[in-house]
Structure formats: C-alpha cells, structure tokens
Assembly symmetry: C2
Homo-oligomer: 399 residues x 2
Amino acid sequence: MPAFKFTIDAESPETWARAGTIQTPHGIIHTPIYMPVGTQATVKSVSPEELRAAGAEIILANTYHLMLRPGSPLIDTLGGLHTFMHWDGPILTDSGGFQVWSLGHLRKLTEDGATFKSHLDGSEHVLTPERVMQIEAELGSDIILPLDICSPYPCSPQEARQAMEQTHRWEERALVAKERYRPEQTLFGIVQGAFEPELRAESARIIGNMPFPGLSIGGLSVGEPKEQMWEMLRHVTPALPRDKPRHLLGVGSPEDVVIGTGLGMDMFDCVLPTRVARHGGLFTQYGRVNIKSARFRTVAGPIEEGCDCYTCRNYSAAYVHHLIRTEEQLYYRLGSIHNIHFMLRLARQLRASIIDGSYPIFRDEFLARYVPASEQVRTDQREKWKAARARQNDIISLK
Amino acid sequence: MPAFKFTIDAESPETWARAGTIQTPHGIIHTPIYMPVGTQATVKSVSPEELRAAGAEIILANTYHLMLRPGSPLIDTLGGLHTFMHWDGPILTDSGGFQVWSLGHLRKLTEDGATFKSHLDGSEHVLTPERVMQIEAELGSDIILPLDICSPYPCSPQEARQAMEQTHRWEERALVAKERYRPEQTLFGIVQGAFEPELRAESARIIGNMPFPGLSIGGLSVGEPKEQMWEMLRHVTPALPRDKPRHLLGVGSPEDVVIGTGLGMDMFDCVLPTRVARHGGLFTQYGRVNIKSARFRTVAGPIEEGCDCYTCRNYSAAYVHHLIRTEEQLYYRLGSIHNIHFMLRLARQLRASIIDGSYPIFRDEFLARYVPASEQVRTDQREKWKAARARQNDIISLK
C-alpha cells in the first residue's frame, strides 16, 4: 500500500462537499470521516474492537499528553502507538501546539519554539518544529501534524498575522525536519489566520502550495460563535488545492460535521461526542438527550429506535439510565459507543448523499430535525471546562 | 431444561472436593465455579460478552442494591434481571441480609424481619422472609437466597445461637412463601452458626435436611482469621447432604477457592477479584502483583506470560500500567477481565484435577507457589473499606 493517496470519489455540485478515499499504511479511510479522539492512547472507556464495530476507520491521539506520559521513546521501544494501544488502523497525531497554547501562563513562545511547564508536575519541556517531528516519528502514527500557534479568540489582527507567519515558518522547518524520519508517515500542513478572512485565505494559499499531502484547518472552535467559524471556512476552502484532503481540527458536534462537509471539509475530530456522553448527553436524530433524565427510568426500548449500535441493540434506555444513576463504569462505555457510532453513521450517510447527489437535501433535512445545544449551553460548558483546567494549571504554577 | 439438577461427576478421595454439574433454566454450570459479582446488575466495568469470553457460567447480583435502585418491580416490568442486564446465563441473587447487617446502626431486627434505612437516602425499608421471596421473584434470578442474619465477628455463643435459630425460622417461612412465586427459581438454604463449631454442625444438619436443593454457607469471611473460617467448614461439610451443591458465600481469593474446594465447597462468589483489580492488584500464579508499580513501566510482555485472557493476549503490561497511571477507564476493564479470567481458569483447573484424581497435588503445588496477601494487608484493606462505608452511613443517619 502506498504511504498516502487521496482520491475524490464524488463531488456535490451545489456545495463544496466531496466524498473521497484516503490510503494509509494502516488501511483505507472513506471521507467525510469522524475521527474518535484517544488523547492518552485510549479512546476513553472504549476498546479498539468496539471502535471498529462502531465503524471507526481512523483515530486521533495527542502528542502533548503522550510525550509527557508515558513518553514517546518508550512507545517507540514498545513497537509504536499502534502496537501499544492495540489499534491496527490509521492514527493521526496532533502536534501538541493546541494543548501548549491552552496552558496559558504556563508557556512561553519564541522564534525557536515553545517552552512550557507540564500540567502534571510542572516540569519544563521545549517543543520546536524539529522536536515535534522526532516525537511523532517515535509515536509512529500515520498522519502527523507540525507545531503551530493557535491564536486565542478574540485577538488583534496584528497578533493574528504574527502567529500565522510564525506558524508558516515553523511549518517550513517541519517539512525539512521530517525528512530525517519515517517516509511512511504523512505530514499535513496547518492553516491558521485566526478570524481575519484575508489571513485565512493567505494561509490557505501558502500552506496549500507547500508540499503537504493533506491540510488541517487549525485555530477554529476556540470560543467564537459558530457562524464566525463557518465564515472563515468560506474564505479558506476556495483557496485550497482540490486534490488534498482537508481536516477541520477539533470540530465537532453532529451539526458541525454536517455543515463543515458542505464547506469542503473531509476529516473531523472532536472529544465532544465522548465527553458529552460521559455527562449523560446522548445523540439522537432529533438532538441530544440527557439519559440521566427521569423520563428514561422506565423506557424498555433503546436510547433511539432503529439505532444499530452495540448499546441500542442490547440494552434498554432504562438500563443505561440505571447505570449512569448508579455511577457504574459500564455506563461510560455504553454511552460513548452510542455517540461514536452515531457520528460514524452520520459520516457514512453524508458520504452516501454526496455520491448519490442528495447532500444538500440530506443536510437541510438533518438540520431541520436536529436541535443543537444552544450557544448558551455551549458557552456554559466551555467555561466550566476552562475553569477546571485553570484550577489545575494554578496548582502547577505554584510548584 | 429442568429448573434445577445437580450431578456429581467426580470426587477426590483423600479430600472433600467434588466436580459437579448444575442445570438451571439459563444454562449449565460446571463446579467448582467462581461467580463474578454484579452488585448493581453489572459486573463493574465488564460487559456480559466479556464475562462469557472469560469463562463465566453464572454471576451473582445483590438484592439489597437492586431493591433500592432501580427497584425490583421495574426490573420485573422490563423482563427480569437477565433481559435488564443483557446476561442470558444463570444468575444467583443473595437475600440482602448481609448488606442489611453491614448497615450497623441503620438497621433493627425483630422476629418478623429487618427494618433498615437506605444507605442512599435514609428512606426506611422492611425486609421479611416473605418480602425477600417476592423481590427475588420480581428479579427473576435462577438461584435465590432466603433472608438470614449474619452475626458479627466476634460474637458471644448466646448471640450466635439466637441469630442462627432466628435464621432457621426465617428460612422455614421463606420455603412457604416461595411457593407463591416462580417454580423455575431454586431457593438455596443458608447455614449460619457464627464461629461455634457445634452451632455450625447443627445448622448444617437442620438446613441440610430441609427441602432446599442447594446450600449456601453464610457468616464467614467477616473479619475472622482464615484458619477459623476453614475450621468452621470442617464442621459444616460432614453434616451436609452429599447430593446438594454447596456455596461458600462471599469467598474469596484464589487461595480461598483452592482450599475451600478441598473442604467440600462447589460455588464461590466474591467482589475481591474485581475490587483489587480496580486498585491495581492483578493475579498471577505467584500471587498478586501491583500493576501501578514502576517495574511494569517498560514491560513489553503481558501481565503474565501464558495467560490467554483478552488483556494479556492484546496488551503489554506497560500499556496496562500506563492506563492505571493516567487513570483511564479502560484500565478498570482490562484489570477486571484479567482477574475474572484468572479465577475462572483456576476453577477449571480445580475441576480437571478432581476429575483426573490429582486435586491434592494441584492444591499443594498452587499453595506452595502462590503468595497470598498477608493477614495484615487484608486487615488494613478491610478497615479502609469499612471506614469508607461507615462514613457513608453516618451521613445517612444524620438525615
């Protein structure tokens, strides 16, 4: 199998949606695709066999977390990430840039790279474009990302340009550094530019023309209203080459994947489906339900009629409700499987609709039916998660 | 399939060990057997398919916990415990007596039954021998136990006799009450008598001669030194009928199952294998290891060479170590599967050794090789767990 090949199987004429096939050393990916996130070399509470059964074709793992624990040299010694976590399909690793950016006052940026303190023990680490290539080579993932800078929302146009240009310089260095390591790995470029339409288009043109076989769009879904994220894509997609797969980093919810596909995105990753599942939020075609709610206490049917996931085939909603109410670990698994399966079925439906030409109808019907979590709920959730992270960082910075 | 049938397939001449077959409405059980415990209608973190794959033939569930959440009438409405928890093999439910006894100052005993306050919300509940039969009929388990009194350790001979005699009277009432419900359920008798050899023998004779198709030995493993537990069995087993299966309630560790088998026990249940797994204690043929220990950080091989459990077939000890160090939920599953598989393989080895006549050699070799947790470690663990429970009860009693 070649290291990497992207083929466009169909395009949706009225939109920018496409259906494609990506070949990697560990198997084929059909796009559009949702990639479950296995931050610490495990998709929380779900086994590799269950991911396969839910339709997963590629998963994502986090370089930042794995470089700290258990460390990339150890993973290398143990045969690489695939062997380590018992997942023989494709793996994409991010660069760690986003997490380093999230550390706030625990990190320092220079032209050379980023110095940061571990959120675990306060120990100091340095990430440079070259070092990230080395770490990802040790991890042995199929698709790797270069170190980038993710600007905060909001930020000034000057800051946005500075971060983008620095990212571009780092990406050039990453391309050079990558040559030292595994030819079977594929380095994607990252498009930045914050929320400046011109910068987004400029970044897409520049990075799109560099010899990256695929492109990730970074710096979105960082707190901005959703409409602003879509507006950025409207400037990015037309500036990108047609023949490279496009990955929308860290996005998203079911409705995001449906909309993002129409705006030309092929690959999506997000912790949201598994994170909200752990808090009781389960996807149905009408929106998210809270399985903790008393209305599920006596429901003999599945979470969603017609769903063929492992959970819905074998357990009543009442049982799943019982498990979360009694804080049983099996709940986290059953809930996560349901949501991952939902996302992957949605990706297959999107692909089928693009191939048979009905994507715009599918999108409009889905969005008419599916009630997303409100902006207010999203903001509240984000603030809660940010506060939890800030508390953790404060503890570290006192060390 | 008949509701219940016990056949002795082989006996070990120099000991009291036997290999048997139990038929139940939900399948066959080969004895000696270890029964994983699914307190709240789930064996913590393990799926029914994984229990099957680990060799489980019967599981135990707790009446006390299920009557409080989600309630036995609801489980009945939803098709019974088997459907509710998606386990189609045999299920044994205890009577709730042990848990009520554990509540200490939250419960009151009378001739009629036990009144207790829920550890969850302080609400008052009454358990009588008749009520327990009704609850277990609603749960729909295959083997059910009658309400009994589990004396504390230590207790006076007078208290021991009183509790035993009350238990006997309750068991007679349970036999009568059971007639009102499901004929396909099998009611075991419970032998009590605390730590008085004469009472133990008396209880075994009386309950053994009542029309119970099987017998559970209760009130042991409640804090006494192990030798004292075995001493009680030396008085109980000879007084029991040969043709009824014998269940040693709440026991035990690997070495307990090996020794108990030689003392005539056929069935064992205990949370220990899954509980210690959750804290990092994993079984090997040389004793328990702590997978959290730094020595596993780089081990590319499995937890135990030659183990064919799902965990050992697919994951390095280093990965399992990484999961517990990062507090990943998948750890609890992989650790529990390993220990359950260990217990069930041990049960199969015991059975094979009884059938081929080598049980005494197998026992002696196992005990020579396997280093059990010391009495001190056991006592410390127990005190920790008791303290945690006491704190919970104190909160309730203030309500």
